[in-house]
Symmetry: D4
Subunit: 171 residues, 8 copies
C-alpha cells in the first residue's frame, strides 16, 4: 500500500501565509501532502472532484482552512468519510465567525476544529500526524520524540531566562 | 410564462414551526411556494438536484433556513444565480452561530440574510415578495396595501392603549 | 420602460472607499447606479425625498451602507417596498454593532443583509444584479457567465500554486 | 407655563409589561406622562407627527423602548432636540442587539441609553426626573428624598438579614 | 442665577484626546465647562468632594469618561441627583467592557450612556446641551440651528460627490 | 492485535446525559468504549494514570467532555499522542467559555474540537469512528453505509412533509 | 490576636441564594464570616463605613457579589488594602456584564475575580480560605485534606458509574 | 521563618514584556519573586515539579500568565493550595478566550483572575502583596502608603491639567 498523505485545502490563496505553518510540521514528520486552492462556494464541483479523487488515492486526512462564513471544511466532510480538520482563518470579527461556522456542525458530519489562525494551522498538522500515528507505530514514536524535544526547548528557554534574570539582579 | 414561485428549504424538519411564519406571509400575497427538507451536509446531492430543477422551473427566490454552522443558504447560493434568502435558526448560542455562518459570505456568492428566528422567517417571505414585485406591478401594489394595513393595525393598538390608560387613570 | 437602476446610499462619505467595491461589480454587469450620501438621522427628510423619488423613477433595489447603530437600511426599507440591501460598515466593535442594527429587523420591514465591509459591498451589488436578473433573462445569463469566469480564475490560481510548489520541492 | 411631561414610546405593545416599571417611577414623582405605541419602521409618519407635536406641547424628555434592531430612539432623536432616552428590550440575543442599536449613535444625534429591560425602564424614568429636576428645585429635592428612602430600604433589608442569620446561628 | 455649567470627569489623563471632541461641541454652544482628572477607585474622596461641590455650584450635568471596568459614571451618579452621562472608552475588548460597566446600572442610579469613544464624547456634549436646553429656550434654538447646519453640511458633501461622479463618468 | 477502543472522559457525572449521545453512535458501529468520570483539576493524577494506561492498552482516540474553563481535553492531549476530541459542555455563557477553552490550544498540543453539547457528543463519536476507519477498511465502509442511510432518512422525512402539505392544501 | 474572619457583601438580597454556596464552604473550614447587604451605588456611605470598620476588626478578605454593572467589589477594593474577591452574578447577558465589570479593574486596585454564579461563590470561599491558610498552617492543612476528600468523592462517583455501566452491558 | 516569595509562571517567553509590569510592582514592595517559563501542556511535569517545590519553599502566591486556552493558572491551582492568581494574555480574540479559560474554574479549584494584559499583570502583583499583607502588618502599611502616593499622583496630574486649560483659555 502506498504511503498515506494529507490534503490541505484553502478557500483562497490569501490563506497561504497562515497555512505554511502546517507545511513545516508535516515536513518535520515526513508526511507527504498536497495543497489545493479551492472554494466551497465558487468552485464546488472542483472541490468535490478533488476530494473524491484524493479520498480514493489514499488521503488519510483533509485539512481545510477558510475565513468568514467558513463552509469549506463542512462541505469536504459532507463528501468524504475520512477525518476532516478545520482551521478557522481570521478574516473579520477576529475569526469568531470562521470558528463558529467551522465547529458548530450538525450531528453526523463532524469537523475536527482547531484554533483560529497560525496556532490552528500547526495543530491541524499535528492532529493529522496523530491520526496517521494511531495505526502506524513508527509515526507515533516520531510524535512522542518530537514532543519531548519541544518540552526540552521550553526548558532551555527557561534556563536562559534564569541566566538573564541573574545578570539583571547582579547589576 | 408560468407564475413565479418561491422555494423554502430547511436543514431539518425541526425548523418547520419557525418557518410556518413565512408560509402565512406568502399565502397572504398569493405567492405559490414549495417546501423542502434537505441538508447541505447530509443530502448535498438531493439539495443540488432540487435547486437546479427549481431554478429551471421558474423559482424566483430561494429561502433557506438552518441553525448552528448554517451552510444551507450558502450552498444553495453556490448552485443558483437566483436570489437566495437566509434565515438563521436559533439552535445554540442564541443563533449567533447561524447568523454569522449565513451572512458572512465571501464576495460573489451573496446570501440576503434576515433576522434570527420567527421575525426573520416573516421577513424572508416579505423580501421574496418584494423581489417578485420589483418586476410585477400588481404584486408591488399588494405590498404597498399590506404595509398600509399593518400601519393601521399598530395605530389601532395605540388607540386601544389610550382607552385602557384613560380607564386606568379614571379609577 | 426605462432600464432599471440601483441606488447606493451611504450614511457618511467615509464609507465611500468600502462601497467602491460595489461600483465595480455593477459596472461589470452594465447596471446603471446612483450614489447618494445621506443620513437616516442627520438628513432624514433628504433621505425620504430621495428614496421616494428614486422608487418612482424605476429604482430596482436600494443598497444602504452604514456603521455603528446602522439605521439607514431600516429607514429606507420603511419608505419603499423595493428590495433594500444593507451593508454593515466596520466603524467600531469590528462591525458587530452595524451587523446587528442592520439584520435584526422586525417582521414586515425586511433588510437583505450581507457581510460586514468590502465582501458585503461586493455581494450587495451581486444581489442587486440577481434581483434584476430574476425577471431579465439577459442579466441572469451575464451572472451565470461571470460566475463561471470567477471559478476559472480560482482554478487558474490553484494551477499557479501547483507550479510554485513543484519548483519549491525541486530545489 | 404648563407642567412639563414625559412621552413614552414603544415599538410594540408587547414592550408594555417591561415599561410599566417606568410608569411607577414617574407616578411616584408626580410627573405627567403619555404612552404611545408607535414604530420607527411600521408607522414612521405617525411617529414623526406625534414627536413633533409632543415637542411643541412641552414634552421635557422622550423615553423610547424597542427590541432587536432598535431604531425607535434614534429616529425620535433625529426628529427632536429634546433629550431622548433609549431602553433596549430583550427580544433576542439577550438584548445585545437592541443595546448596540440604541447606544452606538453617530455624533450629533445622541440617545441617552440605559440598561436592558426592567432596570433600564426604571432608570429611564429616574433620568427623565433628573432632567426635569435640573431646572426645577422642587423636583430635584424629591429625587434627593427618594434616594435617601431607597438607601434606608436597603439598610432595613440588611438589618432583617442580620436577624435571620442570628436566628439561624442560634439554632 | 449664574449660568449652568457642565463638569467633565476622566478616569485617566490618557482619555483626554478622546474627550476633546466634547470640548469642541460645548464651546460651539457657549456652554461653560470644567475638566477634572479623577478616579472612582484611586481618588474616591477627591471624586466625591468635587462632585458634591460642583453640584452645589450649579453644575447642570456631569460627563464621565472611563475605560475597562468603567465605574466612574456610576460612582458619580451615586453621589449626585443631576443627570450623569457616561462615555465608554476603548481600553480593551474594543470598549465592550467599558460599555457594559457604564450602561448596565441597577434601578435608581441611572447613567445616560452614549457610544464608545469619540462619537460618544461628541454626543455626551450634545446631550448635556439638550438637557440645558430643555429649560432654556435660547439654548434649545441654538441646537435646532446647529442641527440644520449639520444637515446642510451633509447635503453639501453629497452635492460634491455628485460632481465628482459626473467628472469620473465623463472621462 | 486487540480491537482498538475509544475512551470517553467527563469532568463531571452531570455531563453523562449529554454524552450518552456518543455512546449510541459508537454502539451502532460496534466500537468498544470505556467511560470515565475524572477531572483535570480535581483528580489530575487519576486522569493521568488512566490516560497513560488506556493509551498503552490500545485506545485509538480519547473523547473529553467538560464545561466552563474546560481543560480536560487539553490536559489529556498533553499526556498522550493519540488523537484527543473535545466536546464543550454548556454549563454557562451558552457554552462559549467551554468552546474557547477547548479549541484555542497552543501549537503542538491539538484538540479536535466539535460542536457544543449533544451535536458535539454525536460528532465526537463519528470522528472517532473515522479515525479508526482511516486504517480499517471495514469500519470505513460502515461509515459510508451509515451516511447513506442517514441521507435516506432525511429524504423520507421530506417525502412525508410533501404528503402533509398536499393534505393541508387539499382541505 | 482574634481569629480572622471573612466579610461577604451583596449588592442585593436577591443574590443570597447564589452566595449561600460560599457560606457552606466557609462553615466546612470553621472560618467565621459576616454577611452584609449593601450597595456600591445605593448605600455608598454604609458600604464605606462597614468596610473600614471590618478592616480594622481583622477582616482577612472581602467577598463581594453583584450583577449587571457590578461595581461593588471595585468600590470595596478602593476602600481597603485587604484582598477583595469578586463574584459576578448572572442578572442579564448571562453574567458577561458582571464579569467584565468585576475583572477589568485598572492597575493598583485589584479584584480577585472568580467564576460567574454558584461555582464562583464556592471558589470565593475557597480562595478566602487559601488566603488565610497562606499564613496559618492549620488552615492550609485543612485545605489539603478537603481537596483529597473531594478527589476521593469523584473517584467514588466513577466507581459507581463503572458498576452502572457493567449492569447495563450485562442486560 | 524565611521571607515569603511570589512565583511568576508564564506559558511562553513571549508573555515576558506584559509580565514585566508585575516585576516592577513587586520590586517596589521589596517582595522577592521567581520567574519561570513553563507550560501546562508542553511541560506538565516540569510545571508540577516546580510548583510542588516552590510551595514547600514558602511561596506565598503563584501568578500565572497565559493566552488562548489559558490553562496554566488552573493547572497550578490543581497542584497547590496556595492562592493562585491568573493573568489572561491577549493572544487572540482580544484576550476573551484567555479570560474565560482562566476565570470560569469549577468549584474547589479557584483562580483569582485579574484584568487582561498589562493592567492585570500589575494587579496580580498588588494582589499578591495584599495576600502577604493580610498577615504582615508592615507589608500592609506599605500598601496603604503606596495607594496614598498613587492618589496624590493623580491629583497632581489634575492640577497640571487645570494649569494647561487656564493657559489655553488665556490665549
Amino acid at each position: 500500500m502506498s504511503k498515506p498523505f494529507v490534503a490541505i485545502l484553502m478557500g483562497s490563496d490569501s490563506d497561504l501565509p497562515v497555512m505554511e505553518a502546517a507545511f513545516g510540521v508535516l515536513e518535520k514528520f515526513d508526511i507527504p501532502f498536497e495543497v489545493k486552492v479551492t472554494s466551497a462556494h465558487r468552485t464546488p464541483e472542483a472541490t468535490h472532484s478533488y476530494v473524491t479523487d484524493a479520498d480514493k488515492r489514499g488521503c488519510a486526512a483533509f485539512i481545510c482552512a477558510a475565513g468568514m462564513a467558513a463552509h469549506l471544511a463542512g462541505a469536504v466532510s459532507a463528501t468524504t468519510l475520512k477525518p476532516v480538520i478545520g482551521v478557522p482563518i481570521n478574516g473579520s470579527l477576529d475569526g469568531l465567525d470562521a470558528l463558529l461556522s467551522t465547529v458548530q456542525m450538525p450531528g453526523g458530519i463532524p469537523v475536527a476544529t482547531v484554533a483560529i489562525g497560525k496556532a490552528g494551522a500547526k495543530n491541524a498538522a499535528y492532529l493529522a500526524a496523530q491520526i496517521i500515528g494511531s495505526s502506524d507505530a513508527e509515526m507515533h514514536q516520531k510524535l512522542v520524540d518530537e514532543r519531548r524535544a519541544n518540552a526540552e526547548a521550553i526548558i532551555a528557554k527557561d534556563a536562559q531566562l534564569q541566566k538573564d534574570l541573574q545578570q539583571r539582579n547582579a547589576k
